[in-house]
C-alpha cells in the first residue's frame, strides 16, 4: 500500500466513524420527527415501526388546539429582543474592560458571572412578586428583561475575551488619526468583530428560546412562548407521544433550522479569544 492509499483509507475510516457517531447522536431528534407522523398506537408499538403510512393528523390537532403562530411570535420577540438589548449594553462594557482594563476588571467579570449562580427555583417568588407589583405578569416585557439579565454576564464575557485579543496596534493607529472613542468602536472594533458578535448573539438566542422555567411561571396566555406550548402537550391522561412529538417538532424546528444556517458563523465566532 502506498502512502497515498494509506492516507485515503484513513480518511474513509475517519469519515465512516464520524458519520456513525453523528447519526447516533442525531437519532433522538430524527425519531421525534418520525414519531410526529405516526398515530398514537403506532408511536408505542413494539417493535418500533420505521415504515408506516405517515399522517399529518397530529399537526392538525396541534394547530387546532394551540395558536402556534402566537407562541412562536412570542418566542421570537423575547429571544431576539432580549439578545439585541443585551448586546447593546454589553458591547460598551466589554470594550472598556478589554481596552482600558483596571485593577478590578477581573473581579468585576467574575462577579458578573457569579450573578448567574442564584438558582431560579430559589428566587421564583421574589421575582414573581416584583412582576406582579409592576403589572408585568404575562407580558413579553418581563421575559425580555429577565432573559437580558440572565444572558448579559455570558455575553459580556464572550465579547471581552474576543476584544482583548484584537491587535492593539490597529486601535492606536486609529487614535493617531484623531478618532474619537465612538469612532473607534463603530469604525474599527465592530467591523473586526462581526463574527464574534453574531456567534454570541446566536448563543444567547438559543438559550432564551429554550428557557422554560421563567417563561412557564411568569406567563399565562398573552406572552406564553413555545416552551409553554410544549407544557400543554406533555403527559395528559391518555396516549400523547405522537402529538407531543408533533408539538415538539414545531417548537424546535425554527431554532434548529436557524442554528443550521448560522453554524458557519457560530464556528467562526466562538473563539473565546483563542485566535492570536
Amino acid at each position: 500500500m502506498t502512502l497515498n492509499q494509506q492516507r485515503k483509507l484513513k480518511t474513509i475510516l475517519t469519515g465512516l466513524f464520524a458519520w456513525t457517531v453523528a447519526l447516533v447522536l442525531f437519532f433522538p431528534i430524527f425519531w421525534m420527527f418520525i414519531t410526529s407522523f405516526k398515530t398514537e398506537l403506532q408511536a408505542i408499538s413494539v417493535p418500533p415501526s420505521l415504515f408506516f403510512e405517515p399522517t399529518l393528523d397530529n399537526f392538525r390537532v396541534v394547530q387546532e388546539r394551540s395558536d402556534y403562530i402566537h407562541h412562536a411570535w412570542n418566542s421570537v420577540v423575547t429571544s431576539f429582543g432580549s439578545t439585541i438589548i443585551a448586546l447593546i449594553i454589553a458591547i460598551p462594557a466589554a470594550y472598556s474592560m478589554a481596552f482600558f482594563p483596571g485593577k478590578r476588571t477581573k473581579d468585576i467579570l467574575l462577579w458578573m458571572l457569579s450573578t448567574k449562580m442564584l438558582p431560579a427555583v430559589g428566587v421564583l417568588v421574589p421575582i414573581y412578586i416584583i412582576c406582579r407589583d409592576y403589572g408585568l405578569l404575562d407580558t413579553k416585557t418581563a421575559l425580555v428583561i429577565i432573559f437580558t439579565l440572565m444572558n448579559l454576564p455570558i455575553i459580556v464575557w464572550m465579547l471581552f475575551s474576543y476584544f482583548k485579543d484584537l491587535p492593539k496596534e490597529i486601535l492606536e493607529a486609529a487614535r493617531m488619526d484623531g478618532a474619537t472613542p465612538w469612532d473607534e468602536v463603530v469604525k474599527v472594533v465592530l467591523p473586526l468583530s462581526v463574527g464574534a458578535i453574531s456567534s454570541t448573539a446566536l448563543l444567547s438566542i438559543v438559550l432564551c428560546w429554550n428557557e422554560a422555567f421563567w417563561s412557564l411561571n411568569l406567563t399565562a396566555s398573552d406572552a406564553a412562548p413555545l416552551t409553554a406550548m410544549i407544557a400543554s402537550y406533555s403527559s395528559p391522561e391518555g396516549l400523547f407521544w405522537a402529538k407531543l412529538s408533533a408539538a415538539s417538532t414545531l417548537a424546535c424546528a425554527p431554532i434548529v433550522i436557524f442554528g443550521w444556517f448560522c453554524q458557519k458563523q457560530l464556528v467562526q465566532g466562538l473563539t473565546f479569544g483563542a485566535v492570536k
Partner: protein, 439 residues
C-alpha cells in the same frame, strides 16, 4: 412586605379602573386555566358554542400539564395576581382554598340543578357546606382486567375481591415470555401518582396518614403490610420498570395488551374500551377495587372542577362559563357531537340515568358504584383528622405525599427496603408537620 402590598393595591385599583373603562366598549374577556386532559381539550373545542350564546364574553385558554398548572394557579391565587378568571382545580385544593376565602362560591341557583351532582363529589368540593368549585368530571378507581386472559387461566374476578385473590390471579395470568404481565399498577413517584393508588390500598389495610393529633403514622404495621404486599406483587408479576409507570405508561401497556389487570382511575375505562386506541377494547372487564381488612377507602375519589378565584374582576362572566361547562346541557352537547361514550362522567346522576349513555358506556355501572362508595370524610378504619380518600386536604400533603412516593418507588426499584423507605418517609413527614406548626 408591607409596601409591596400597598403597591399592589394601587395597581389593582388602577387596573380595575382601566378594565371597567375598557369593558364598556368591548366584550369581557375571561382566561381559563386548565389541565391538558382529553375532556378539557374537548371543552376548549366546544367553547365557540358558549361564545355564541354569550356574545359579550370571549374565552382565552391556557392548557398546561398537571404539575405546571397546579404551580401556576396556586402562585396566582395566593398572590392575588388575577391572571386567571377560571381555574381547573382538584378535590385537593378546593377545600383548602375555600377555607382561606380565595374562591368565589359557585352560583348554584336556577337551572343548574345542584342536587343532580353526585353527593360524594359535591361533598369533596365543598367547605362548610358551600360548593367552591363545580365538578367537570369525576373519577374513582377500579379493577380493569382482560376477560380472555383471566378466563384462560381458569380464574375469575369479582367486585371487592381480597388482595390475596388478586395476587393469585396475577400469578396465574403472568407470562413475561409472551410479554404479558399479571398486573400493572402505578409506581411513578408523586402524591397524585403512586401515592393515590398506594393510599387507597393502605386504607383497605387499615392504615391512615395521620393520627388524631396530626402525627404521621407511616411506620405502623398497617402501612408496612400494605407496602410490602404492593412491592412484592409488582416485583413478581408486574412489568419491567414499574417504578416509573404512571397512569399513561400503564394505559399504553394495557392498550398494547401487555397487562392482565390494571387497577387505576375509572376514567381509563373509556380509553381502554375505545377500539381506536386499544388493541384489547372488546376484552375488558371491570370490578370494584380489592380490599384487605376494610372496604373503607379502598377506592379513591377525585374530581377536576372549575373554580373562580376571589380576585377576578369578571365574576359574572366567569360564573356564566362555569355554569355552562358543568351543566347537564354541556354533557348533552358532548354526547350529541362526539357520542355518548365520550362525555365527561362522574359528576351528575342524570348522566348515568341516560339510556344513550348506558348503551354507549359499558363501564357506566361499575364507575358509578365506585364513586358512590367513596367518602372523603370517612375513609380510614381508625378515625383521622383529615378530609380526602387518597390524600389529606392540607397544604403540607403535596410535599409529604411526593416524598413518601419517592421512597416507595425507591423500595419498588430495590434501592432500599420497605422498612427503610417508610422510616425515612415518616421522618420527613414529621419534619414537615413540625415546621408547619401542627405540634
Amino acid at each position: 412586605m408591607k409596601h409591596l402590598t400597598k403597591n399592589t393595591l394601587t395597581y389593582a385599583v388602577s387596573i380595575t379602573a382601566a378594565m371597567t373603562a375598557a369593558s364598556a366598549f368591548s366584550a369581557t374577556q375571561i382566561t381559563v386555566a386548565t389541565v391538558n386532559n382529553g375532556h378539557m381539550i374537548e371543552m376548549q373545542k366546544l367553547t365557540p358554542e358558549f361564545e355564541k350564546a354569550n356574545p359579550d364574553i370571549k374565552v382565552k385558554w391556557v392548557t398546561l400539564e398537571e404539575n405546571t398548572l397546579r404551580q401556576n394557579v396556586t402562585q396566582d391565587i395566593a398572590n392575588k395576581s388575577g391572571l386567571y378568571d377560571v381555574m381547573t382545580i382538584g378535590m385537593y385544593e378546593t377545600p383548602i382554598w375555600g377555607e382561606r376565602g380565595w374562591l368565589q362560591a359557585i352560583d348554584t341557583s336556577g337551572n343548574f340543578d345542584v342536587n343532580d351532582i353526585l353527593p360524594s363529589i359535591r361533598g369533596g368540593l365543598s367547605y362548610e357546606g358551600t360548593m367552591y368549585a363545580a365538578p367537570f368530571y369525576g373519577e374513582s378507581s377500579m379493577v380493569m382486567y382482560r376477560k380472555d386472559l383471566v378466563k384462560a387461566a381458569g380464574m375469575e374476578i369479582n367486585d371487592r375481591d381480597s388482595w390475596e385473590h388478586i395476587r393469585d390471579v396475577a400469578a396465574a395470568v403472568n407470562n413475561p415470555e409472551k410479554g404479558i404481565y399479571g398486573i400493572c399498577l402505578r409506581g411513578k413517584a408523586g402524591w397524585g401518582d403512586n401515592m393515590a393508588f398506594m393510599t387507597a390500598m393502605a386504607n383497605s389495610f387499615g392504615a391512615r396518614w395521620f393520627d388524631e393529633s396530626w402525627k404521621p403514622e407511616l411506620e405502623t404495621a398497617e402501612w408496612k403490610n400494605a407496602v410490602n404486599f404492593y412491592v412484592d406483587l409488582l416485583t413478581k408479576y408486574g412489568p419491567p420498570g414499574a417504578s416509573s409507570n404512571g397512569f399513561n405508561e400503564n394505559l399504553a401497556l394495557f392498550n398494547e395488551g401487555k397487562c392482565g389487570m390494571w387497577i387505576d382511575a375509572t376514567i381509563a375505562a373509556s380509553f381502554v374500551t375505545d377500539p381506536k386506541q386499544s388493541k384489547v377494547a372488546d376484552q375488558v372487564g371491570f370490578a370494584q377495587s380489592p380490599y384487605s381488612v376494610t372496604e373503607k377507602g379502598a377506592n379513591w375519589l377525585w374530581a377536576w372542577a372549575l373554580g373562580i378565584p376571589a380576585a377576578t374582576k369578571n365574576v359574572e362572566a366567569a360564573q356564566k362559563f362555569v355554569r355552562w361547562a358543568t351543566s347537564k346541557e354541556y354533557i348533552q352537547l358532548v354526547g350529541k357531537n362526539n357520542g355518548w361514550a365520550a362525555v365527561p362522567t362522574g359528576t351528575r346522576a342524570s348522566t348515568y340515568a341516560n339510556t344513550d349513555f348506558q348503551k354507549a358506556a359499558v363501564f357506566a355501572e361499575a364507575e358509578l358504584k365506585a364513586i358512590n362508595s367513596a367518602n372523603p370524610n370517612d375513609s380510614t378504619l381508625k378515625p383521622s383528622p383529615y378530609v380526602g380518600v387518597q390524600f389529606a386536604a392540607i397544604p403540607e400533603f403535596q410535599a409529604i405525599g411526593t416524598t413518601t412516593g419517592q421512597m416507595i418507588s425507591g423500595a419498588l426499584s430495590g434501592s432500599m427496603t420497605v422498612d427503610q423507605a417508610l422510616k425515612s418517609a415518616n421522618t420527613s413527614a414529621d419534619r414537615q408537620m413540625r415546621q408547619a406548626g401542627y405540634y
